[in-house]
């Protein structure tokens, strides 16, 4: 369906080759159906053409160019003594040449290219099929080396801990406290010659409940 507004928006693109060939074909077909759009397109085309003609006509005549070139040449010759373009070293030039060679494309006709591809393909296939079929599995050439490596061995250590067990009476505060005091007095009094405390059960009064407290650590002596 032809839409004049949409078509007019695309006419400049059509004139300046900014549309795809498919769209260009559609637009040109649309112009055949709409005289107004066709006229608008022709006007644009003529404006473009007249501009080109005018711009070309405004340019200097032929006799201008030799003088222009002479002036430019003189300016370049003068400038060449001041401006020294960077000279490439041999390696840089070689590198540029190689890069150019690598990126250069060569035009080859499609039939010739296809023929070459087929030829290469057949050659590869023939080489593979004519080659030895039962190839023994290759023996891996791995040299085995024996070494004695010292490995640290974890040694066990026996740790001895002395556990002191203190028995404390838990009777009534008055009597029990007194008995404790008397006990400690007795104990303090009964130090033997070696300095060791002699345990004595004099004044010890057993109670109903006994609480054992285990103190871990070194001997306080």
């Amino acid at each position: 369906m032809h839409n004049c507004r949409l078509t007019k928006n695309r006419l400049l693109d059509l004139l300046l080759d900014e549309v795809s060939p498919t769209e260009a074909k559609q637009l040109l077909e649309g112009l055949d159906d709409c005289p107004a759009c066709r006229e608008e397109y022709e006007t644009l085309k003529n404006t473009w053409r007249v501009s080109a003609h005018a711009l070309q006509s405004a340019l200097p005549a032929e006799d201008f160019w030799p003088g222009h070139h002479a002036r430019l040449r003189a300016r370049l010759m003068n400038a060449s003594s001041l401006i020294q373009p960077v000279h490439y070293s041999l390696s840089s030039r070689l590198w540029i040449g190689l890069r150019k060679l690598a990126t250069t494309s060569v035009r080859v006709p499609v039939p010739a290219a296809l023929a070459m591809l087929l030829l290469i393909g057949f050659s590869l296939f023939a080489l593979r099929s004519s080659g030895p079929r039962n190839i023994p599995p290759s023996i891996p050439l791995v040299a085995v080396e024996t070494r004695t490596v010292p490995v640290p061995v974890i040694q066990e250590r026996v740790v001895t801990r002395v556990v002191h067990v203190k028995q404390r009476g838990r009777g009534k505060r008055g009597a029990a406290g007194q008995s404790d005091l008397s006990t400690s007095n007795v104990a303090r009094a009964s130090l033997d010659a070696s300095g060791k405390t002699a345990m004595s059960l004099v004044g010890f009064k057993p109670t109903d409940q006994v609480k054992l407290t285990i103190i871990k650590g070194n001997d306080p002596k």
Partner: protein, 203 residues
């Protein structure tokens, strides 16, 4: 290796004659762009020479990744934009049909001895109108129009060179064409084109 690449290679080694041969091949295109861009004979000469001097100084940066002219055009565009930014040319006082354009047109007219007087006058009138339309465009619009019209670059290519979007390029070309149509007396109405054609402008 093409002869042009060979010349570039020689110029890169400091052969100024080789560079002058390269300049000879493209000096008209560069001068034309410069002339239509700044619309003055002397300014165009200075600007185009500046382009060539810059190209000569920067020749070592040419890596054969594009054609020599594509590389040169990049320098040209940068040169034009720098001149516009630096305001080294009095853009505002240049008017279409100025002495420079008249000089070139007169030279051309003198050469076309076979052309009739009427045709010559018509041509002069059309040239003046086109130049007037271009003078009404901004320097950037003018540059975009010239790159599209003279160089045949795509919207994408121009946008890439000028660091803007293709939409901006399209809009710019469209505006310049609208100015051209206005100057040439072609309004939006198709009927007016017919009357214009009758005057012989569209020959």
């Amino acid at each position: 290796m093409s002869s042009e690449d060979e010349l570039v290679g020689r110029a890169q080694t400091g052969d100024t004659d080789a560079f002058c041969l390269l300049a000879e091949a493209y000096e008209r295109r560069i001068y034309s762009l410069a002339f239509h861009y700044c619309r003055d004979r002397q300014d165009a000469e200075d600007l185009s020479q500046e382009v060539w001097l810059k190209a000569y100084a920067a020749l070592a940066t040419f890596r054969y990744e594009s054609s020599f002219y594509t590389w040169l055009r990049k320098i040209t565009i940068n040169c034009f934009l720098n001149h516009y930014r630096n305001r080294s040319f009095p853009w505002s006082i240049k008017i279409a049909g100025s002495a420079s354009i008249d000089e070139h047109a007169a030279e051309n007219d003198a050469q076309s001895a076979t052309a009739g007087l009427e045709t010559t006058l018509e041509n002069r009138m059309v040239i003046e109108r086109v130049m007037q339309a271009l003078s009404e465009a901004t320097p950037q619009q003018r540059l975009i129009f010239l790159l599209k019209h003279q160089e045949g670059m795509t919207y994408e290519e121009i946008a890439k060179e000028l660091d803007c979007s293709p939409g901006t390029v399209k809009k710019s070309v469209s505006r310049t064409i609208a100015k051209l149509r206005k100057q040439l007396g072609v309004s939006e109405e198709p009927e007016s084109y017919v009357s214009c054609a009758a005057t012989g402008i569209w020959k």
